[in-house]
């Protein structure tokens, strides 16, 4: 009795799944070749369509050199840097819901986030550790590219973009450092900006613009907040787009050695 009931249930589910997959809405979302379409089969043509007919085509060609998929060659470092950027964007947006960038409120907001927001502490931890991890992975990615001689023609310019992205990563991390507005943040940024003040000729002006005043204060916090959540991510996304595009235009990743 139970068994037949279960079977009926299963049959019903299959039917519903079937009609969902053949509905207009479903087929308008998943383009031909998508693995989610009805009757997807693993054929060379469909393998091509998975990429060609999806948004992934912006990132990947249909085929890559066989050596390019060797994990031991790239160590996935570039891809992981990008992935960490996405993780940081997601967790960062979450944090923005609970944070006000003023000297009077910032620290309290972080404290409240950690103590009374569901998953608040976890997400903040992920954002912080993810940021450190991204600095490391971008740095290692650069070293990997250097040791493989991958910056040589025709990839010279993409290396330049890469160095800019490394700098942007450091700036993103550094501007985020101030936001908790605790002793660690304040004095680390004091040390950092004092160094910037020694820039020849217009050092004081640069420092003034960055701090929004002669000393670090609530203006600085607002300024660095905007730099951290909008300005630098915006610039970084643009450079990343060029970076990934150039990887393809320069004939895929370099090598084999």
């Amino acid at each position: 009795m139970q068994g037949s009931k279960g079977q009926k249930m299963q049959q019903k589910l299959t039917e519903v799944w079937d009609s969902t997959q053949s509905s207009q809405a479903w087929n308008s979302i998943f383009r031909p070749g998508s693995i989610f379409r009805k009757g997807y089969s693993d054929s060379p043509r469909n393998r091509s369509y998975v990429i060609m007919n999806s948004v992934l085509y912006h990132l990947h060609p249909v085929k890559v050199k066989r050596h390019a998929v060797k994990v031991s060659y790239t160590l996935c470092l570039g891809g992981l840097s990008f992935f960490l950027f996405i993780v940081l964007t997601v967790t960062g947006i979450f944090l923005m819901f609970f944070y006000r960038p003023t000297a009077a409120q910032a620290w309290d907001d972080i404290y409240t986030l950690q103590t009374s927001v569901t998953f608040g502490l976890l997400v903040r931890n992920m954002h912080r550790w993810g940021a450190h991890l991204m600095v490391i992975s971008v740095f290692l990615h650069m070293a990997r590219v250097f040791y493989h001689g991958a910056y040589k023609a025709p990839r010279e310019f993409n290396w330049v973009i890469g160095v800019i992205l490394l700098t942007l990563t450091l700036l993103l991390s550094f501007t985020g450092y101030l936001l908790p507005w605790d002793q660690l943040a304040l004095w680390a940024v004091t040390v950092g900006t004092n160094m910037i003040g020694y820039t020849p000729v217009f050092g004081d002006q640069v420092r003034f613009v960055l701090l929004g005043g002669a000393e670090i204060g609530t203006n600085t916090l607002l300024r660095w907040y905007v730099l951290h959540v909008l300005f630098f991510p915006f610039i970084t996304v643009i450079f990343m787009a060029i970076h990934f595009w150039r990887v393809r235009k320069d004939g895929g990743i370099s090598g084999p050695l």
């Binding site: 393998r47 998975v50 990429i51 992934l56 990947h60 060609p61 085929k63 890559v64 050199k65 066989r66 050596h67 998929v69 994990v71 996935c76 891809g79 992981l80 992935f83 993780v87 000297a103 620290w107 972080i110 404290y111 502490l121 976890l122 903040r124 931890n125 992920m126 550790w129 600095v135 250097f146 040791y147 001689g149 040589k152 023609a153 990839r155 010279e156 290396w159 160095v163 800019i164 991390s173 550094f174 450092y177 908790p180 507005w181 605790d182 002793q183 660690l184 943040a185 304040l186 004095w187 680390a188 004091t190 040390v191 950092g192 004092n194 160094m195 020694y198 020849p200 000393e215 050695l257």
Partner: protein
């Protein structure tokens, strides 16, 4: 060095097998060897559609005088380069095709143009794999591993949140974020302008110029000993500075041993 891709090798092997089979098939035929050999590759995998072949055969048959005899040999048209087009009438007769065709036309083979001299193929065939699933699966697994690591690490270790920022209480030591601690370490040796601006500025500048200064076209490690050592020395130098700045600097940014005085370091 360039490997011939697997699928091309397979295809070539299949073609060879086919040709061999054809040759074996047509060898015992008593007819003259030359036309038989010419016909072999044309028979089954000709690219000319069947109905066109039939039409041309019909036309030829008409011209040749309407005999059904001519039809079977007309498969030879597909290899027009090597055989006289009028072969239809000649082949059944036995001997090699000599000058005279139907209607007394004479045709000669002037030259054979090989495909390579017309189609200039610049890119060599490369061994490639589909991005889906080969690359995407790897990327997915890598992302999963990274997420897992980050989640577990964040679960176990809390990000620091010290007491509220206080302008009147300078912590001792005050340290920059870890990736700038190499620079802060340089501050102990050089004037701030040199340590904080000139050296990092030059570093980034030289890094940007690296591909334009390195004229060595090879990417093999054994050809790049100088570049390798130069980069390694600098990376090591930088890493050591960061480690010293992070763990071996205590109050007053003076040298300490972490196992004696403890660690003065926050991430």
């Amino acid at each position: 060095m360039t490997e011939v891709p697997e699928h091309l090798l397979k295809r070539a092997q299949a073609a060879k097998d086919k040709a061999a089979a054809k040759a074996a098939e047509s060898a015992p035929a008593p007819a003259a060897e030359e036309p038989a050999a010419a016909e072999a590759p044309a028979a089954s995998d000709s690219r000319i559609p069947a109905h066109l072949l039939a039409r041309s055969q019909a036309a030829k048959a008409k011209r040749a005088g309407g005999t059904a005899e001519a039809a079977p040999a007309a498969g030879g048209t597909a290899t027009a380069v090597a055989t006289a087009p009028a072969g239809g009438a000649v082949v059944p007769a036995g001997g090699p095709p000599v000058g005279g065709g139907p209607g007394g036309h004479t045709q000669r083979l002037l030259t054979v143009v090989k495909a390579g001299s017309i189609q200039d193929v610049k890119s060599k065939p490369q061994d490639k794999v589909h991005v889906w699933p080969h690359l995407l699966v790897i990327e997915f697994v890598a992302a999963l591993v990274c997420t897992t690591f980050l989640l577990i690490f964040s679960w176990v270790v809390n990000a620091p949140l010290l007491e509220l920022a206080n302008f009147n209480q300078t912590p001792n030591p005050s340290k920059a974020p870890w990736y700038f601690l190499g620079l802060q370490e340089l501050l102990t040796m050089f004037h701030p302008m040199v340590a904080g601006v000139t050296i990092p500025g030059m570093g980034i500048f030289i890094l940007i110029l690296a591909p334009y200064m390195d004229k060595n076209p090879s990417n093999k490690p054994e050809d790049r000993k100088f570049a390798f050592s130069l980069m390694t020395v600098h990376l090591m130098f930088w890493t050591v500075l960061v480690i010293i700045g992070s763990f071996f600097r205590g109050p007053g940014f003076l040298f300490t041993l972490p196992w004696v005085d403890g660690v003065f370091f926050e991430l």
